[in-house]
Point group: C2
Chain length 124, copies 2
């Protein structure tokens, strides 16, 4: 297809800093009905990601610090890539969201397997 | 497309009963690396669903009982439906998984937006 990541990414995303509490990260996911929060530095650079699966791991393992469940090695895509590239990365790593970054490594949106799946429902 | 839910559903799914503990449900999601657990009765009938987002809500709201976070009104599909039907339902309700049931309302698998998204990566 000719659809680009920039065509389906969500530019309204929510992020946390790495010194956020586990409770506040959870409250943000619930309030905004999202499963994925990129972890960003003060100047907007991508430092990691934390998901509702990670929060579930914290419950299972009685972990109380967000820092302990943040995934540091974040997979991401550039906005100009095709959606096939995003879909393949998510399949390869069994993940369901990718931060979208610009040429200066700043996050400009999030792309999810939910948004790619929704394309099938509309165009078949 | 001519792809049916039965072509992409995962027949190896994990479920919980409604009297399971929050910790055990969390441990199952972590151990099996899944985000969704159908809640089933002793005779295999679908009673609800609980996800890692619901566990996150429990953390945010300091809820300790699984029963309090189970979604009872479960959206599902039949195995003979096309994947477009599954994709549309998930988009309409902002959900990322659907139990697949047979003609006797028994669960035979799970279909996720991850598995539909992965099709794009392979066939474009
Ligand atoms: C491997 S997945 C397994 C469960 C399920 N498939 C899912 O998507 O949540 C869960 C882990 O992936 C990590 N993860 C999610 N998105 C990621 C991304 N873009 N880059 C790296 N890791 C990511 C999470 O932090 C979490 O620890
Ligand atoms: C509305 S979604 C919002 C967050 C995100 N879009 C996601 O898919 O997790 C979260 C809620 O959907 C519910 N849910 C997940 N799968 C469902 C299904 N097949 N039928 C009904 N509710 C479901 C969960 O129990 C949870 O309370």
């Amino acid at each position: 297809s000719q659809i680009l990541v920039s065509d389906i990414m969500n530019p309204n995303f929510y992020s946390v800093s790495r010194d956020e509490t586990l409770e506040n990260a959870s409250m943000l996911m619930v309030k905004k009905k999202v499963n994925h929060l990129p972890v960003v530095s003060e100047d907007g650079k991508l430092e990691g990601i934390v998901t509702s699966w990670d929060i579930t791991k914290a419950v299972a393992c009685k972990i109380t610090e967000l820092e302990e469940i943040i995934t540091r090695d974040v997979k991401y895509v550039y906005s100009g890539e095709k959606i096939e590239a995003a879909s393949s990365i998510m399949e390869d790593y069994s993940i369901s969201a990718l931060p979208v970054i610009d040429s200066e490594s700043r996050i400009i949106g999030m792309v999810t397997s939910e948004s790619i799946s929704a394309l099938i429902g509309r165009f078949g």
